[in-house]
């Protein structure tokens, strides 16, 4: 086992043990913080497939997070008000069922990611960053002006949506659900990175000309990666809205897109557990420093600066040494 696998295992143990401890010692707020960290980690993990493996620095991944959030918000809003979403051409009603919400959140995020990718993947570098940012801002202002679903005020959902066999209002049960999804996504990314697709995508980041010369199309590879990436972040958005029982245009904000990138950089780019460590550290620091000063972002900025300057592989790089080509 490599040192990185030990770091990953320790991280996994923390994800399981800390909330259990919080449950036993009756600290529900700690569980809520952990849930927040897990969901943000899932969102950043989605981005890490595009950014870490594919080298696509998307500055607009809040688009998918927001779409996931609004998928949940809109479906639950109609369900709690007993109003149909559409009556024509056939009746579409809202729902409070998480599996259906998740399905819709991932499918819509996937379609939007495909369309955004189709346009923005024709550019690279700074232009790609800017065009993804532009799409993010478009949806942000669209959501602000969409009065039917709360506009700037957002949508409040009174009761958390349901999952068959679970009481999602119990913090530990909802946490378990989110953790299970994160672990599935981690397993998926682990397999993906070693798969034929992962090899080709990784090469498309390093030497696109070579990928073309062996008869593969880097654009198609990156488009598929971007779509998968958006779907995972979209699913995280649905969970995030359910955690807060609230969705608003801030879920589309460019600051959030930036935070996802920051999680990945803190944890370690293209590292499997990078987004998990990054998101967890962010939530902890936000909680601790945020309790001391409203201006905690300044101190967080120093930390980020330190990691970028001194730890090239993020926290995982510091703990486990340089990245190794997978065996």
């Amino acid at each position: 086992m490599t040192r990185e696998s030990y770091v990953n295992l320790a991280c996994l143990a923390g994800l399981i043990l800390i909330p259990l401890w919080a449950h036993v010692s009756d600290e529900p707020f700690t569980i809520t913080l952990a849930t927040r960290a897990v969901i943000l980690a899932l969102a950043a993990l989605g981005l890490n497939i595009a950014l870490g493996i594919g080298g696509l620095v998307s500055f607009g991944h809040a688009v998918f997070f927001g779409i996931g959030g609004y998928a949940m918000g809109i479906l639950a809003h109609h369900a709690q008000n007993y109003t149909p979403i559409a009556e024509w051409p056939f009746l579409i009603e809202g729902t409070k069922s998480m599996p259906i919400i998740w399905l819709l959140a991932t499918v819509v995020s996937g379609i939007v990611a495909f369309l955004i990718g189709l346009l923005s993947l024709r550019t690279t570098g700074v232009y790609f960053i800017m065009i993804t940012l532009a799409f993010g801002q478009m949806l942000f202002f669209f959501s602000i002006s969409w009065a039917e679903y709360g506009g700037e005020d957002g949508l409040a959902i009174y009761v958390r949506n349901g999952f068959p066999g679970l009481n999602t209002l119990v913090p530990l049960q909802f946490y378990g659900l989110c953790l299970a999804i994160l672990l599935l996504a981690l397993a998926f990314q682990w397999r993906l990175a070693k798969s034929p697709f992962g090899l080709a995508l990784n090469a498309a980041r390093q030497v696109p000309n070579r990928v073309k010369a062996v008869g593969l199309n880097p654009f198609k590879l990156q488009l598929v990666a971007f779509t998968i990436s958006g779907m995972i972040t979209g699913l995280a958005g649905a969970l995030f809205a359910d955690l807060n029982r609230f969705v608003s245009p801030t879920m589309f904000s460019w600051q959030l897109s930036g935070e996802f990138i920051v999680f990945i950089i803190i944890g370690g780019t293209a590292r499997l557990f990078g987004p998990v460590i990054g998101a967890a550290l962010f939530v902890i620091i936000e909680h601790v420093l945020g309790g001391i000063s409203d201006y905690w972002h300044i101190w967080f900025g120093f930390l980020l600066l330190g990691i970028v300057l001194f730890g090239k592989g993020g926290v995982i790089g510091l703990l486990a040494g340089g990245a190794k080509a997978h065996d």
């Binding site: 798969s195 090899l199 090469a203 070579r210 010369a213 062996v214 008869g215 199309n217």
Partner: protein
């Protein structure tokens, strides 16, 4: 057209006032190494770009195994059987040697849409990758990270990746670039044996290698082919001597 594997017909490409490729027609026959030589700025890279699909010609056509591939992009031409190597090594430096050749084998299989199974455990791809590594003499280096390889080994790996494509024709852009005498001799020997698997269109500056390998030579000067012939014919061609070989020959 069965006697020609790769052919260009009347290729033209201009950049502004500069006619970089001027009515270039060349043919690559089965079993031959056809070298293209020419002074710097003669338009060799532009020609390679048009043959491999990274540059669109203003007019003219490219045929591969009798099929018009002029409208196809680089990836489609590779699928059609064009195996190229680059003047400046285009290798995934962070990946291992094995991963680089596996990428070639994966391209050949044309099935990159597999998201689960580990590519390193794919027996068919591995077998093809391993055969290519053995062929160029890099089998022992398979687990090394490509960035750690010597320049000469990288040049060999370039050829190995092209080999995994099992192409109908090779296009090699200065495979000897930057190699010392020993590395150059080793690669010359390797290419010598390759011509019977697929003919090679060889763009090369190393005249020793060209004269040792080429069955035919075309001389490109200012975008035009001024002569095509056997090594001896080119050596004695007065126009070629004037335009290119100068005092060397």
């Amino acid at each position: 057209m069965t006697d020609v594997i790769l052919e260009t017909r009347g290729l033209r490409k201009a950049f502004g006032a500069l006619q970089a490729t001027d009515d270039v027609s060349i043919a690559l026959r089965p079993g031959e190494i056809h070298a293209i030589i020419g002074p710097n700025g003669a338009g060799k890279s532009t020609l390679i770009g048009q043959i491999c699909g990274s540059l669109a010609p203003d007019s003219g056509q490219v045929f591969l195994a009798g099929q018009d591939v002029t409208g196809k992009d680089t990836a489609q031409r590779a699928q059609a059987g064009l195996g190229r190597t680059f003047q400046i090594s285009q290798l995934a430096m962070e990946d291992t040697v094995m991963q680089n050749v596996l990428l070639g084998a994966l391209g050949k299989s044309a099935a990159p849409w597999r998201f689960f199974g580990a590519v390193l455990n794919d027996k068919a791809l591995r077998k093809s990758a391993m055969a290519a590594l053995e062929r160029v003499g890099l089998a022992d280096e398979q687990a090394r990270v490509t960035a750690e390889l010597s320049h000469g080994q990288r040049r060999q790996l370039e050829v190995a990746v092209a080999l995994t494509l099992q192409p109908k024709a090779f296009v090699m852009d200065e495979p000897m670039a930057g190699l010392g005498a020993e590395g150059s001799a080793r690669l010359t020997k390797l290419l010598d044996g390759l011509r019977h698997e697929a003919p090679i269109l060889l763009v090369e500056h190393d005249m020793d290698a060209v004269f040792a390998l080429a069955d035919r030579i075309s001389v490109l000067v200012s975008g035009q082919i001024i002569a095509t012939g056997t090594v001896d014919e080119i050596r004695t061609d007065t126009r070629v001597r004037e335009a290119y070989l100068g005092d060397e020959a």
